[in-house]
């Protein structure tokens, strides 16, 4: 396209023809780019895939920790690793990515496009869910390989995903709250710190039963403890719905999302 072509009477390339694309197309495009960016980022892959899978394989195959739970190591670990995977994707990875998007003005610039803010949040959620599905496939494959034998009621087909959805909502709310209020560097540091701490005290690889009796109910009130304990109840103990853990996650989700909606600053 050249100026000569313009003059020749063809519609100029810049002739106004404004209009928004359908919402689903915008969301798919945004989520697609976010997903490709995440999958190309080594640190993010380490966080969301390598660490959970390594922990699962290593702690299942070698008696590094005496779980003393009466369960096989793979049976104890798998629900905890699923909880860790949800936290790493919905919280840590999303907080860091969004924090830097805010710092680089990416969120501000997107605010001037036809993609609305609810559309952007939907894209981010779609990205998180897609990564979680990928994590789920890999974790289940490795878990079955190292001897995981779930012992769940048929209702687990609904209640385990329900717990994961609530956990994802809670962690996403917390991650976006952090990313939308702190500086990007502070978010990076804090999100990683929270990840390490909750990996330690969230019932992921160290059973909550090994902590002092007084601390245990408190640790189960943390989102990671609630998710790992709840998933373990559903997947290994045949419990249909661990009500306490479910309510805990729902409360975290509501509080975190409400706060994020109030406090998130886009630039």
């Amino acid at each position: 396209m050249t100026a000569a072509a313009d003059a020749a009477g063809a519609a100029p390339v810049f002739a106004p023809a404004p209009g928004a694309a359908p919402l689903y197309r915008m969301i798919a495009a945004q989520a697609g780019l976010e997903l490709r960016t995440l999958l190309r980022n080594g640190e993010q892959l380490l966080l969301t895939l390598v660490i959970p899978l390594l922990l699962l394989a290593a702690f299942s195959l070698e008696p590094l920790v005496n779980f003393a739970t009466g369960m096989s190591r793979a049976d104890f670990l798998t629900p905890g690793i699923i909880a860790l995977a949800v936290m790493s994707t919905a919280f840590t990875s999303q907080a860091i990515a969004t924090g830097f998007e805010r710092r680089y003005g990416v969120l501000k610039r997107l605010g001037a496009t036809p993609l609305s803010r609810p559309g952007l949040i939907t894209s981010k959620t779609a990205t998180v869910v897609t990564v979680e599905l990928l994590q789920g496939v890999l974790i289940i494959a490795v878990a079955l390989g190292v001897g995981w034998r779930p012992s769940a009621s048929p209702a687990a087909i609904v209640t385990a995903p329900l717990l994961i959805v609530l956990g994802t909502a809670a962690f996403s709310g917390l991650g976006l709250l952090m990313a939308g209020t702190l500086r990007a560097e502070a978010t990076l540091a804090a999100a990683n710190l929270v990840y390490i701490v909750l990996l330690g005290v969230g019932g992921v690889v160290f059973p909550l039963t090994r902590f002092p009796a007084a601390a245990r109910p408190l640790l189960e009130l943390l989102p990671t403890g609630a998710l790992s304990t709840g998933l373990r109840a559903v997947l290994q103990h045949g419990i249909v719905l661990p009500v306490g853990n479910t309510v805990t996650l729902a409360v975290w989700a509501l509080m975190a999302i409400a706060l994020a909606m109030r406090l998130f600053r886009w630039e």
Binding site: V13, A15, P16, A17, P18, A28, L33, R109, P114
Partner: protein
């Protein structure tokens, strides 16, 4: 039928309506008013330049028009609509180039433009646009590894890919080398030819003089002058020459029409300014005066003031934060 008219028909737009109308705009940050009672109008289908020193309120004004900030007082209409209340309707119709940033560092120009093209109903083809702004050779290079000028050109491409009716360009040529600047000027000229309204800010007076149909000079958040570049620069004629330093300019003035001014600045560079334009009798009077004294007027030039002269006269020469 001009392409601009065609564009009006295509978008059902009222050609008479202004692209942007600002009246009595006030925006305060704490106790300082970044914009302090600014009023200006940008005509539809024209290139309007907002000029002003750093801190004059240019970016704040543009960002209010883009719907990023809420004014404390005053009225702003963009394409006849409210930038915040009607944001959903305006976003597809308005292209935005921020002063800096906004593009993810690890994303390539090709990926970024493809993303934005998916947000619009009838976008420009991303590959064609990359070609147009000279980024085809670096289409797959991450944004963070592009030069400053390449980053600016990607940002410009992102502003126009959705085929908007109106674009806001905040310092579009900052950090560009002369080649990139000229390419950008050509692109803005083509936007205008296609019927797109352009509002830009710039520090380059030459850019404003070349590109803009209309300029508004603002300082301390208020309008200090507005008009076509010709209107702003054409009020004073200049005659410049070089000669030995220390000529008696007072004696020269006595030989010239009243209301003329003559000064030597720097030494050996003489400037004579008259209201309106330099005319043949004035030229004759100056050269006659020189001839009487045996002075050879070197590099004698007749010109009008540049926009930069007008700008400095209106906004002063002291440095801004």
């Amino acid at each position: 039928m001009s392409s601009r008219k065609l564009a009006c028909v295509r978008t059902g737009r009222d050609a008479a309506a202004a692209a942007v109308e600002i009246g009595g705009l006030v925006k305060r940050y704490g106790r300082t008013a970044a914009v302090d009672g600014l009023s200006l109008t940008a005509a539809s289908g024209a290139v309007t330049g907002i000029l002003g020193p750093n801190g004059a309120g240019k970016t704040t004004t543009i960002e209010i028009c883009e719907g990023y900030r809420r004014p404390d007082a005053g009225a702003v209409r963009v394409l006849g609509l409210d930038p915040i209340r009607d944001a959903r309707v305006l976003r597809p119709r308005v292209g935005v180039m921020l002063q800096s940033g906004g593009i993810p560092p690890s994303v390539s120009p090709a990926d970024y433009l493809r993303l934005l093209s998916r947000f619009h109903a009838s976008p420009i083809d991303p590959a064609a646009l990359l070609d147009l702004v000279g980024l085809a050779p670096v289409a797959r290079t991450p944004y963070k590894r592009l030069s400053g000028g390449q980053q600016q050109r990607l940002s410009l491409a992102a502003a126009v890919i959705g085929r908007p009716e109106l674009v806001f360009l905040d310092e579009p040529t900052a950090g560009m080398d002369p080649q990139a600047r000229h390419a950008t000027w050509e692109l803005i000229t083509r936007l205008r030819a296609a019927g797109v309204s352009v509002i830009l800010t710039t520090h380059f007076m030459e850019e404003a003089e070349r590109l803009c149909d209309h300029v508004a000079i603002i300082d301390h958040g208020a309008l200090v002058a507005a008009g076509t570049p010709g209107q702003l620069t054409g009020t004073v004629g200049q005659l410049r020459f070089r000669a030995e330093p220390g000529l008696e300019t007072d004696a020269l003035l006595a030989a010239l029409p009243p209301a003329s001014a003559a000064k030597e600045s720097p030494a050996g560079h003489y400037v004579i300014e008259v209201p309106g334009a330099v005319d043949p009798p004035l030229l004759a009077a100056v050269t006659a005066w020189c001839a009487e004294r045996g002075v050879l007027a070197n590099s004698l030039r007749i010109e009008s003031r540049t926009l930069e002269d007008v700008f400095l006269e209106l906004t002063g020469k002291e440095l801004r934060a």
